[in-house]
Amino acid sequence: MALLPKKGLVAFFNDPDDLVHAAAQAHEEGFKNLDAYTPYPIHGIEEVMGIKRSWIPKAALGALITGASLGFLLQYWTHVLDWPINIGGKPLNAWPAYMVIVFESGVLIAALTNFLSMFVACRLLPNAFAKTLDDDLTNDRFALVIPAKTEEMQQEAANLVQRMGADEIRVLGK
């Protein structure tokens, strides 16, 4: 579980639609760095929470190009430079035959980078401070985390989620 904000508020909902509406409302009223915990992906929630696209696609593209180039270089080095052997009269740099391995190594490195950078981007790396908010978050409950530093902001956020049908509100960092 990602690290929680030091001060703020967690609102629990029983209905995913309520969560989406509350998140949209909180974003509209100017709360920043919202976070949501749901048992399954809810499409469209990132948009209403104002979360932009992450840097993961860029990292994956970079890894893809790196992996594909490394795959090509490996074959070029083995077939042309280190141990040139004439196979069936084909040119040493038989690039059409290389393409399969270029593709595979590109996909492999890109997929692994994608997988690992997801953990980094979501701050899901192993750490000693992670606490489980609520066991039912993996079953049938939905939580919205609103960081709020001051008392007034916390009160405002509490009023908001109450209006939107939260069934439990917990204040963080008392």
């Binding site: 995913p16 499409h43 469209g44 209403v48 009269g89 038989a94 059409p96 035959a97």
Partner: protein, 413 residues
């Protein structure tokens, strides 16, 4: 988005008639096309037959592709595509005209286009050009590709395609009237679609072997059927996307065609452009790598004397354009981008068939001939009128499908 603007009922837009101006355009295209075809046959009948074969394959793939798309959606119980499914179903109305053109080509043009018997006899005289084939196999191949058998096979295939398309479309259409039967008819269509897809796989491959691979009667490729299929599927998806965009301009249909359907169609085009490139590359790479004379002469003829330029255009138009054009998320559901990409992909499909057919008779790229342009125009007109027939008789949305509302709302996500 979740929870917002959900609808509980889709309004029946009823049948939609193609505008009179466009229908006039189609009729003009048919008349102009027929005149050009006559001109083509009068000046150079060999090239005219190639052009006719090209246009026939292009539009057969669309007509048949409509049924294949529908069947795949049924088999997968797909929900996203319910709102656009009837557009694909309408494309099947072209099949009867396909049979007509097929008979013209296989009866009238067989002698000009295919030299199966003489090539095989010649190779028999030399003791066989194949390394591993005994002369007995060549006799089998000669029989398989002989004119009477090609005609008989074609008629049987059309009976299968037409018959199964008729049954699938009839079930889909009758669920409009008897909405309570919707679920039962859908289950029935799923079974029919499974049978159709299995039969289609074999029959379409053999049809392409009969009409396209037989042009080079000494050549063979085990990838050929799936290569033609990937072209079929890519071009069909593009045409469905274009028809969907055209229907978005009809006010009564517009509410049912959301950004999601466009986005999913864009994703399909992108996915199948990768499939097309994968199959095309596999065929090329294996022939290049194995380097057996019986296989390589096909690729050599198609990569020299200017044909190489056409060859390079194929992955560019059929893979790089859709892949790069539809990769950014905002572009995938953008009508302008989809139209540009689809038109370029369809150009690539035309060039692909041109690249398969014309090098047999021409050592370097030539103008496809007035008959090619004419028959393309004429069949485009026929295709448009077939679509009008389909869309103006029945509702353009499958109103009886139990998942229509789900498709429009995007609640399949």
């Amino acid at each position: 988005m979740h929870g917002h603007d959900l609808i509980t009922e889709v309004k029946d837009p009823g049948p939609v008639r193609i505008s009179k101006g466009l229908m006039g355009g189609f009729i003009v295209a048919i008349i102009l096309g027929l005149l050009l075809v006559i001109d083509g046959f009068a000046s150079d009948s060999v090239r005219a037959w190639q052009g006719l074969l090209l246009s026939y394959m292009f539009f057969l793939m669309l007509g048949l592709g409509g049924v294949v798309f529908t069947a795949i959606q049924y088999v997968a119980s797909a929900r996203w595509s319910v709102a656009v499914r009837r557009f694909a179903e309408g494309m099947a109305w072209f099949l009867p005209f396909g049979l007509l053109i097929f008979l013209v080509i296989s009866i009238g043009g067989y002698g000009t286009l295919y030299d199966v018997e003489s090539t095989l006899r010649e190779s028999l005289g030399k003791g066989g050009v194949y390394h591993n084939n005994s002369s007995n196999d060549l006799i089998t191949k000669g029989f398989f590709l002989s004119q009477p058998f090609v005609v008989v096979k074609g008629i049987v295939f059309y009976a299968i395609w037409g018959g199964m398309a008729f049954l699938i479309l009839r079930n889909s259409l009758s669920s409009d009237k008897a909405r309570k039967e919707g679920e039962r008819l859908k289950q029935k269509n799923i079974k029919l679609s499974i049978a159709f897809l299995i039969l289609f796989g074999y029959t379409f491959s053999i049809h392409c072997i009969d009409l396209l691979m037989a042009l080079e009667s000494k050549w063979f490729s085990t990838m050929f059927g799936v290569y033609c299929f990937s072209g079929l599927f890519l071009s069909t998806t593009c045409v469905i996307a274009l028809i969907t965009l055209a229907f978005r301009r009809v006010p009564t249909v517009r509410p049912a065609i959301t950004h999601r359907q466009l986005y999913d169609l864009g994703t399909w085009i992108m996915a199948f452009s990768c499939f097309m490139c994968y199959i095309g590359f596999s065929q090329y790479m294996l022939i290049w790598y194995a380097n057996i004379p019986e296989e390589t002469f096909y690729m050599i003829a198609r990569s020299q004397n200017g044909w190489g330029l056409v060859f390079v255009l194929l992955p560019l138009l059929k893979w790089i354009v859709p892949f790069a054009g539809l990769m950014p998320q905002p572009f995938r559901g953008n009508p302008t981008v989809i139209v540009i990409v689809c038109l370029l992909v369809l150009t690539g499909q035309f060039l692909d068939l041109y690249w398969m057919i014309y090098p047999v008779f021409n050592s370097s790229p030539v103008f496809p001939g007035t008959a090619a342009i004419g028959s393309f125009l004429a069949l485009l007109g026929v295709f448009g009128i077939c679509l009008n027939q389909a869309y103006s008789r029945n509702s353009v949305l499958p109103m009886g499908d139990p998942h229509l509302v789900m498709s429009v709302n995007g609640s399949y996500l």
